[in-house]
């Protein structure tokens, strides 16, 4: 029983310690990587964001588009009726 408890304790200490060490190293590695990447590619690319916007398949946008188109068609029909 005691042995089990000590096994549990050491698993906790070493396990938690390892998790922290690992993620600390990951923080360091990631930060270093980001810094290197940014050095070679300094300016952020606002183009990508812009492009994403125009190609947006955002449902809200689509709904608006459909609404506008429906209205356009409606107007067109009324125009035609009036002719």
């Amino acid at each position: 029983m005691d042995e089990l408890l000590s096994e549990g304790l050491s698993l906790m200490v070493f396990g938690m310690g390892f998790v922290i060490v690992f993620l600390t190293l990951l923080v360091i590695a990631t930060s270093a990587m980001s810094r290197i990447v940014m050095r070679f590619e300094p300016a952020p690319v606002p183009k990508a964001a812009a492009k994403a916007k125009t190609m947006s398949s955002n449902p809200a946008d689509d709904a608006q588009l459909i609404a506008v188109m429906t209205a356009a068609i409606h107007k067109f029909r009324n125009d035609r009726k009036g002719q």
């Binding site: 396990g15 998790v19 922290i20 690319v45």
Partner: protein, 433 residues
């Protein structure tokens, strides 16, 4: 008349045991939670239904050919199986336990004997063997999750990885709790079982399933069910703890907007992570390897059709099989046990401790950075339960300050928590596996 009787003697109504009846109710409750309460339905619908199928009397869908042969217990078959298992007893129940404890060669031999006698593996047993026991299904789901994960917020603020580390304290505290209960004589968990239970605190379904398949397959049903159920309960479990550990002023902290993260950083991140795993903890390599592979497919931009498939057709197919397979472990003889109750209690403790550890770590980091840089509410997202926990952080932030959108800030620790619990899983497999 004889036939009529035989159909009655073979019917479910005649044969159902109380355990099976109870487990069918459990399956129905899981379906209710999944469908009406939206508790992680993608997993709990298949698990619940699989649980019902596994407990249909006489159908044997969750049993191996050997178990089915021992259930029907024709004397000559029992005799042959006893010989194969090297047992002196002819009691089917005893033989079943000898079978469970025997090694791979004996399993293979006994399986052939049972098949010779005309018995076959139940379908759910086959699914379990191929998808789960092999470890493939959780790994493939992890690949799909990787392909769905955006590490942008984490890369914008890598220090949030510390929050993902801290929240894993829930895992190890639970391990200690499980061995503590055993020391007190209230429960009876081995260190392997304790480790498998602890991983519930990782709040990450596939990791929990992978670890318990490795360390304590007989507890898989209970562990998977409590992992997914508590993940669904995150919006109820976390807020009181988060409120208790933070001041109103802290909850109002507005974090500065995240910097832009370039495509190239996102491509490099899974590779860096993979190499770090390779150098430090090979036991986490399968889990994090598939995760990083999925993420690389997502970000590299040249294999979009593979990434789409990993995120859709493949993960859905695997989810169906994984869910049914986990459900097959909800058979009465394996689930109805004091241990299950212990697992359910320890699981909720794991979530609570992890949440608290994450929030406290965030407070500590906030202090160290001047007291106005990090809203401690994002600490709780470190348990993972992606993206539920991040949403909870966001909701509490908005409660305190209606202009305080924490969602993106909380996504950093949220995905860090996935990495953290996979690392914890690797450590446990290394030490007790």
């Amino acid at each position: 008349m004889e036939k009529l009787l035989s159909i009655w003697f073979a019917s479910g109504m005649y044969n159902i045991t109380f355990g099976q009846f109870f487990m069918i109710i459990v399956g129905l409750v899981l379906l209710y939670l999944a469908i009406n309460k939206k508790f992680e339905p993608l997993l709990l619908v298949p698990i619940g239904f699989g649980g019902i199928l596994a407990n249909i009397p006489e159908a044997g869908m969750a049993f191996s050919a050997v178990e089915n042969a021992l259930h029907f217990a024709r004397p000559e078959v029992v005799r042959d199986l006893a010989a194969t298992l090297g047992a002196t007893s002819f009691d089917p129940d005893q033989l079943k336990h000898i079978y469970y404890d025997s090694n791979a060669s004996t399993h293979a031999a006994a399986s052939l004997v049972a098949q010779d006698a005309g018995y076959s593996n139940g379908m759910l047993y086959n699914f379990y063997t191929i998808a789960v026991a092999s470890g493939a299904a959780p790994l493939l789901i992890f690949m799909g999750v990787g392909a769905m994960t955006d590490f942008g917020p984490l890369l914008a603020n890598p220090r949030t990885l510390f929050l993902g580390a801290a929240a894993q304290f829930g895992i190890f505290a639970t391990v200690l709790g499980a061995v503590g209960l055993t020391s007190l004589g209230w429960m009876n968990f081995s260190i392997k079982e304790a480790a498998a239970i602890g991983i519930i605190g990782g709040a990450d379904g596939p990791t929990a399933i992978y670890v318990s398949t490795m360390l304590a397959p007989h507890l898989l049903g209970a562990i998977a069910v409590s992992a997914y159920a508590y993940m669904a309960l995150v919006p109820m479990v976390q807020p009181p703890i988060m409120r208790a550990l933070t001041t109103q002023r802290e909850r109002k902290i507005v974090m500065s907007q995240l910097r832009h993260v370039s495509k190239r950083e996102k491509i490099f991140f899974p590779i860096v992570l993979m190499l770090l795993v390779a150098m430090l903890l090979p036991d986490a390599a399968p889990l994090l390897g598939m995760f990083c592979f999925g993420n690389l497919m997502r970000e590299c931009g040249v294999v979009d059709r593979l990434s789409d498939t990993a995120q859709n057709a493949l993960i859905n197919i695997v989810t169906i099989f994984l869910g049914l397979s986990v459900g097959s472990k909800l058979s009465a003889d394996k689930f109805l046990d004091l241990q299950t109750l212990g697992i359910l209690v320890l699981g909720i403790v794991a979530f609570a401790v992890g949440t608290a550890a994450g929030v406290l770590m965030a407070k500590l980091m906030n202090q160290m950075m001047g007291g106005n840089a990090i809203n401690p509410l994002i600490g709780s997202a470190g348990v993972s339960a992606v993206p539920m926990a991040a949403r909870v952080s966001n909701k509490l932030g908005l409660e305190a300050n209606s202009q305080n959108f924490l969602l993106m800030h909380a996504m950093g620790p949220n995905v860090a928590g996935v990495i953290g619990s996979a690392v914890a899983a690797g450590v446990m497999i290394k030490f007790v596996g």
